[in-house]
Amino acid sequence: MTSPDSNGTSTAAISVRDLVKNFGEVRAVRGVNFEVAMGEVFGFLGPNGAGKTTTINMLCTLAKPTSGEASVAGHDVVTERDDVRRNIGLVFQDPTLDGYLTAAQNLQLHAELYGVQSDLVEPRMRQVMEMVGLWDRKDSVVGTFSGGMRRRLEIARGLMHSPRVLFLDEPTIGLDPQTRRSIWTYIRELKEREEITIFMTTHYMDEAEWCDRIAIMDHGEIVALDSPDALKAGVGTDRVTIATDDNDTAIAALDRQFGVEAKVSEGAVVFGVPAGEEFVPRLFAEFEMPIRSVSVSRPTLDDVFMSYTGTTIRDAEEDQSKHRNRVMMQMMTGGRR
């Protein structure tokens, strides 16, 4: 039993055991286990429909687990719901601001809902709004804000009550690259300035790199969990891309001569080998065909995802949407789910 003290230094910020969530027949989350340490930036990575949002909803007490246990900031998400809520900040995928109120009114309302002591509301508000660069817009009505500004304001609001754990559900979805970058800047600044644990979901591979640790989720299960570097190292192969005059012959030759399985991707021959730099000289010396160009790259999280799930995140999402379409068709034609 962990009990947090006033400095926010309990053993784990989040701890999850055998967490399961079923929606009728659909098994959205199939028994996940993990712990997030205090002060960590922890990312949940996976295609849409992998169960990320369902997991986050259970952790922030918006959904009841079908079975299993979870505690956030030292409090059980089912039996100590209010204690969990006092200690977490939430930024949802969908906007939850009151567009009729000004930015400051939105934050004020939030502070009051959480019972923030009134003499601290103003300075805290200034701090969080300056952090996201919206202090000069505090008296503007939120309805006039752009999507990026709203998301920034939501982040500021989520921080109003100094939460121990900040949940960000796809904080950068639907934003332009520049805004995405600036949101990441805030998150990193935040981590430096405040004692806070950040739990986020994303399906952008490049963003997951910013996390201390990543859990890769697919079909309601965690298939891998480690730091981005360790995950990439775990793939064990570098990606070698060569351009030849005849790709099919090259693939056959690679298999025959070196025993590597290559395939064509975007007009070039691609394959994985354990140590790319050492393989390339051998390739030039021994390969029976002329090579026009060659490049070696370290594995990316895309490759990690690929190696654990056998598919790229984009393909996984296409499958999901196909599945969704099929379900919708069934529903429209009167079939049962």
Partner: protein, 301 residues
């Protein structure tokens, strides 16, 4: 329980960067006080929303004004024979007081559907407060806003030959308050189930319009055809319109015959239902619906 209820600031120097102190705040544990505060916040938000929505102030008054001035004037000649010299506008005035409040209360309840559509409901639902505080705050807010609209109708009384009278105004105001509360509670109860704005307004119209017509807001309730008399006594709104009419008519200088035929009052098997009991009917229904609304919102995840 070792969690802190310390409500003082804990100011620490920033570890890196600008050097400005970090303002750390803490969230107190949930208590009755925090619930009352939450109710107040939700209530106040309704008022802020109302103030910023001038269009709504006007639009919700259109219908009552149409009934009062257009219908009241237009049907005057037809009605003259039966009103014993009382102006038709004066006669329907108490009923109009009720519908002005009803329409506003309905719109107030609709704001919970908007809040859900625009996501703000979620912000309230995840705060460390009870769902009941949100629902109660909404109902109080709706009731307050509806009463503010009702005051407009009270103010125009002299235009339809209802003179100002302190006792009458106080009575009318409290009756309006009760009605506004109960209608908002009803609306919030419906809103717990119906998630789309269009369907919500449709359902509310479908329920509220017949209630309004059957309530006797536009006709005396004595000597009705049996089927209508039965429906009338079952209609909750009847028990708001009747005391309202009693409050207004007791301060009018009209003939006893007119009083008798226009303000005969609601009877149960010949027994005239007293004002207090009628008010109690409205309050009890309101509280029951509030209870159902709270239960429904607490049950949803």
């Amino acid at each position: 329980m070792s969690t802190t209820t310390d409500t003082r600031a804990e100011t620490t120097e920033a570890a890196a960067g600008s050097g400005t102190p970090i303002v750390r705040v803490s969230v107190p544990e949930r208590s009755l006080r925090s619930e009352l505060r939450a109710i107040k916040i939700v209530w106040r938000r309704e008022l802020i929303r109302y103030r910023s929505d001038r269009l709504r102030m006007v639009t919700t008054l259109v219908q009552p004004f149409l009934f009062l001035f257009v219908l009241g004037t237009g049907l005057q000649s037809v009605a003259a024979a039966g009103t014993h010299g009382v102006n038709l506008k004066t006669f329907i005035y108490p009923g109009i007081l009720c519908i002005a409040v009803m329409f506003t209360a309905m719109f107030s309840a609709a704001s919970i559907v908007w809040d859900r559509e625009f996501g703000f409901l979620r912000e309230m639902m995840v705060a460390p407060i009870r769902r009941s505080s949100i629902v109660i705050g909404k109902c109080f807010g709706g009731a307050t806003v509806a009463c503010l609209q009702g005051i407009v109708i009270i103010v125009i009384g002299p235009l339809v030959h209802v003179p100002y009278n302190v006792v009458m105004i106080i009575e009318v105001f409290f009756l309006q308050l009760l009605l506004a509360f109960s209608i908002t509670a009803f609306g919030v109860m419906v809103a717990a189930r119906i998630k789309q704005m269009q369907s919500f307004m449709g359902v509310m119209q479908m329920i509220v319009t017949p209630m309004f017509f059957i309530s006797g807001a536009l006709f005396p309730v004595a000597g009705l055809a049996t089927w209508l008399a039965i429906l009338n006594r079952l209609d909750p709104l009847t028990y708001a319109v009747d005391p309202m009419r009693r409050a207004v008519f007791s301060h009018l200088h009209i003939s006893p015959a007119a009083q008798q035929s226009l303000n005969s009052g609601v009877t149960w098997f010949g027994w005239r239902v007293p004002t207090l009991l009628e008010a109690a009917v409205i309050v009890i229904l309101g509280v029951v619906m509030l209870g159902i609304a709270i239960w429904e919102f607490s049950a949803t995840e």
